[in-house]
Symmetry: C2
């Protein structure tokens, strides 16, 4: 599934020269209309682009996805897996909405999703000059501090005291361009409809990132403002009345999380040899723990389901990336391109003086980053996988940070971040002690494994206790699961924190200084020089080749174009569209191929030839889940929920021959809502009645 | 821990040119006495070598380790972790010997270890001519068939009808030399003494493959013959009365499992990019499952302990190999050496004609091997991780194979293998249904994940069932846990099998043909050409450089030399010997740093300066666990149980500056037996009284 679990903190973006048809995750202010016209004979005008843009939204907080308004009254269409955390947070041991689904028959039954936020992009403005001026002549620590401060100031000026605005400074084209993205922020988001988990994620992990596919991966949310459905009469996308055909032109409008399409060879090698193996090994063990934990009983299965899905999804994606780097010619091709570029730079004395050293300098940063990687990772926060610890750390830091002037704060305590912080801290989402212990035991165990039992930080944290002992004591002892207490401590200032003897707060106090030191070290000695050298390389590339196209993904709004098309896999042609009949053929009765009762009952009434899921050549990546797929008329023809396995290498480059986006077909949405769920209220609303 | 869980089926061995002092896992018939004399001023004579050789034994069946006779009455010294399976097989929910330890106060309390076999090497003879003649002019399938047949015939002639002999044809120096290893086989092996698990493996996984270390990783077994202790008056090693000092010369005599010190670059890359990541990912998930399974309760922890230890041990070893290949200069150095050798071969028309194509041919085999790797692995057997399935498959194949003439059988059904087969099939070791289901569910799930739910073999195995459903049905339905039934079916011939409706036998029937086909394909199209081309490369190397020294490890008896020496790690000097005081300082009270009661009570009586564990420069690898470490007098000064983390890269090459063998000190063994365990009977016997 193509979503990001938490909004990635992506500082860098490079521009990418498109060499493949349909390639590109384009910004709305730089969409290649000429190319599209040439390839497909259709030229979207500004009104078309504006309408699609303003109808598209981003889900953050308790999700990391894309979505769209689909009715005049704030109805939002996204994937089931994008609303999964909300669905789980609203579930109880007695009422498991993830399994049984949810449908608010009346508006008053719509239920608020804890911690979920919807962002609607209302303006993009250029702040490159201002940022460049602030960074001028700065290096290392000073560069990092200036960038952080200027971003905080711009964001704060933009949003003012209006908690309903969210302003982010986004660095594109590897720091060559800085844009201010201004969003309308909505924190009252309610669940309207979700099908049963087994049909939303039919085929489960075995079918994930695969095609042919049969997933009804849909949910509806509604944005409320001042307690009433938001008026979106001017900015919603209508459902098409006709299904797509092979060859049809399609657009997606969504928020791809991050890509590494212009990484240098040493960056790719670092990812292949260090970061990916590390992530694959640790995630695999965590997957095993969650799998077996889920077998303890139905309640354990229920509370672990979201995390198990998340880790399996990310494992499959990371494996795809790893094998793409190991088995394809990506690294070799990149090396050849790099060699050519460096030769051209070296051949020009002016370029050589300015940029010639950048590649070796970059390699130096990555070598340093390899040394002490485990320490930076675990001390930096990986050691404490616990929602309760996260709250404790925020509480300990809050009075310290908010006393500072805005531009000096850690970014998550800046004025602009205040609404998100409060949304998170005051969320009523349940925290499960058993799962907290499981997570914390695992992360503490990995810390001890990676750093060794004799490491000073490990000793400070564990003392004479085992990871399981400490995790149990902390989770059993803390009272921070209580929202009221968190509110009291957050608003009580330093005195309240000092007076607390909560064990989780005590741990946060003990490790705060070390965690800050590591973070500072990373910012100043890794992130800042990395930004500097990748910017130099990007500039060198620009000066040599003079071309530019779309920036690497940054979990900001992008538009892609493509068409409905099958592909060849292992010598077999795969048709681009599946049908309802295939679903029932594939069902076995055993999870993950077990159908919910509602679909079994509805089978006789469903059209077996109704198109179900389909694939297109659109260029997307994780974060694009929930993106509306629209036709030339700007109408929704599908709902993006995944990419095929060949798309996983898409992190490094786009291959139009096999890279495919997978979507739920609009006709299926209509038919299932009508026949399986009798969700007439939604159907009427979708058609603007 | 340096042991092999099951005897590896290593067909190939290359010779290795030693460039480092103390490097080498030498065969006893080619020990570099001159080198040793030059380096250490001591020249072992033939009697010395013969005595050490004949006192050394190998543990197979329910172990994969080294050991030695240490008394005139068949007493065998090995590691606790080498007898771990026996200790567990003799445990019950009421009496957990792995936790509590075991001491047979009288001889009649010594208890037979199910499935454990001791091999004593009594003769090595050269059969190179005979094998070479049989293989002459053969290629592909014919080559594979001829090699298998000639090995079976030689082994059969050697052992005759004597079940107490075991004869193996071992290919050394990449097939340049074939030796016949003749062993005395002992199947009545009884447990005499084992300390508590927590002191045998003090520090657990965090301290595994690390030093400084405090493990009392010792156990004693006794070999019986005709119901009486075996007479080993002429072939046992005495315990030294004095402890080693830094710089002392040490020898190990044991069975290193396998090494890859002369692999070509493509072989190293295949391991780095394909085999190791695959193993790391799957083993990590399995580790997570076992970890969480163990937390279900004390009985689950007890029955899973051995497997959890095994997977954690192997994971740490594999990670060491992976990072050695990724981060060290091994691959680069190998590439440079290979380039030089190939240039020399290409420069000589005769050599070029004979060997010039071998490297590219080898690469071709590995590329083919990469295609369909998952299918070959899972259909080949990985799909069915279950002792009960293993029994079922043996039963289904037994009447078919034993009808064939000896040289045409699958090797495990050859006449020479018959005693091992019966020992395995009639073992009374407990089989735990809950663990069987866990294993089988996991392996079936991995099969479906790797091959996809639409693969014909997956469909044939699973039908409409989920992996967990099928595993539960099979394990609950089969009666093969009953030794009597297995005996009846094995001896009942084809009719008995045909009449059986046992579900596990039914599954074995269904998959037998596919499994055989895959195995045949591997033998003919991968193993045979791999042997051919690596032999060519080895021959080319020999012709160009004219040198030879020791062959790659083959789980056959080898001797290494070295000395007690510390090393430098992360800029810190590590002293070579730890002391009793350090154990008590390191103990925290929480597993894996929790001491058993016996040691806590004994602390006041123990000499705090008593040397505990120590490190030497001896060159060993997995399989060497349990090796005796002897001094110039041929007396035991230590018991090998591990290597340090730097030794893990030893699979690819030896680096004497940091590669260290870790041993239990002889003085500690004496003191603990006397003070902690009051094991006077053993102490008296060790000193020949």
């Amino acid at each position: 599934m193509f979503f990001v679990r938490t909004a990635p903190c992506v500082l860098l973006a490079l521009w990418i020269t498109t060499s493949h048809a349909d390639e590109g995750m384009w910004t709305f202010n730089n969409f290649p209309v000429d190319k599209v016209q040439k390839a497909y004979g259709f030229r979207p005008d500004q009104a078309w682009l504006d309408h699609v843009r303003i109808s598209s939204v981003r889900l953050t907080g308790a999700s990391g996805c894309s979505a769209a308004f689909v009715s005049p009254r704030g109805l939002v269409q996204t994937n089931h897996h994008c609303a999964r955390r909300c669905i789980q947070d609203l579930s109880t041991p007695q009422s498991d909405l993830a399994a049984a689904g949810f449908y608010a028959r009346e508006e008053e039954d719509e239920t608020r999703c804890p911690g979920l936020e919807v962002n609607q992009l209302i303006d993009i403005s250029d702040v490159t000059d201002r940022v460049t001026k602030a960074l001028a002549g700065k290096d290392g620590p000073a560069f990092a501090a200036a960038l952080r401060a200027e971003r905080a100031n711009i964001a704060s000026e933009c949003a003012g005291k209006d908690d309903n605005l969210r302003c982010d400074v986004i660095s594109l084209y590897s720091g060559g361009v800085h844009n201010l993205y201004k969003y309308r922020r909505y924190q009252d988001v309610r669940l309207v409809f979700a099908p049963e988990g087994p049909i939303a994620f039919f085929g489960g992990d075995p079918d994930n990132f695969e095609f042919p596919r049969y997933d009804f991966d849909l949910s509806y949310l509604r944005v409320y403002s001042d307690g009433r459905p938001l008026d979106t009469a001017k900015n919603f996308l209508r459902y098409s009345k006709t299904d797509v055909q092979p060859g049809d032109l399609t657009f997606t409008s969504g928020h791809p999380g991050s890509t590494d399409r212009l990484d240098t060879v040493v960056q790719l090698e670092f990812r292949r040899d260090v970061r990916l193996p590390r992530a694959l090994i640790d995630s695999s063990e965590w997957r095993g723990i969650l799998t077996e934990f889920s077998r303890k009983g139905p309640e354990q299965a229920r509370i672990a389901e979201g995390r198990l899905f998340g880790v399996e999804n990310s494992l499959k994606a990371l494996k795809g990336q790893f094998y793409a780097l190991v088995e394809s010619s990506i690294v070799k091709d990149r090396a050849a391109a790099e060699k050519e570029l460096r030769a051209k730079v070296d051949a020009d004395p002016r370029l050589k003086a300015q940029y010639g050293a950048a590649w070796d300098d970059l390699q130096g940063v990555l070598s340093r980053s390899r040394q002490g990687l485990e320490e930076r990772s675990f001390v930096g926060g990986e050691a404490f996988s616990s929602a309760l610890f996260g709250h404790a750390l925020t509480l300990v830091r809050y009075p310290v940070e908010t006393k500072k002037s805005n531009e000096l704060r850690l970014p998550e305590f800046s004025e602009a971040s205040s609404p998100a912080l409060r949304q998170r801290m005051f969320s009523t989402a349940p925290i499960y002690p058993e799962l907290e212990k499981l997570r914390l035991t695992f992360s503490l165990t990995k810390m001890r494994e990676a750093l060794g039992p004799d490491h000073a930080f490990v000793r400070r944290v564990l003392g004479k206790k085992s990871p399981a002992q400490l995790a149990t004591e902390l989770v059993d002892g803390t009272k921070l699961a209580d929202v009221g207490l968190r509110k009291q401590l957050l608003e009580g200032g330093q005195a309240a924190i000092d007076a607390s003897n909560d064990p989780m707060i005590a741990l946060a106090r003990i490790v705060d200084a070390d965690m800050r030191a590591v973070r500072k070290d990373v910012e100043e000695n890794i992130s800042a020089p990395l930004t500097k050298y990748t910017t130099q390389i990007a500039q060198a590339r620009f000066q040599v080749y003079g071309e530019s196209s779309y920036p690497d993904a940054t979990f900001t709004l992008r538009i892609s174009y493509g068409s409905v098309a099958g592909y060849v896999q292992d010598g077999k042609t795969i048709a681009p569209i599946t049908m309802v009949a295939g679903l029932f053929e594939r069902a076995t009765g055993a999870a993950p191929y077990r159908l919910p009762e509602s679909w079994i009952k509805a089978q006789p009434m469903l059209n077996p030839k109704q198109p179900f899921n389909f694939v297109t050549t659109n260029d997307i990546i994780g974060g694009n889940s929930g993106s509306p797929m629209v036709n030339k008329a700007g109408e929704i023809v599908g709902l993006v929920f995944d990419g095929n396995r060949q798309s996983l290498g898409g992190n490094f480059g786009y291959d139009g021959s096999t890279n495919r986006t997978i979507a739920v077909n609009v006709g299926l949405m209509r038919e299932a809502l009508a026949v399986v769920y009798s969700a007439d209220r939604i159907l009427r609303e979708l058609d603007g009645n």
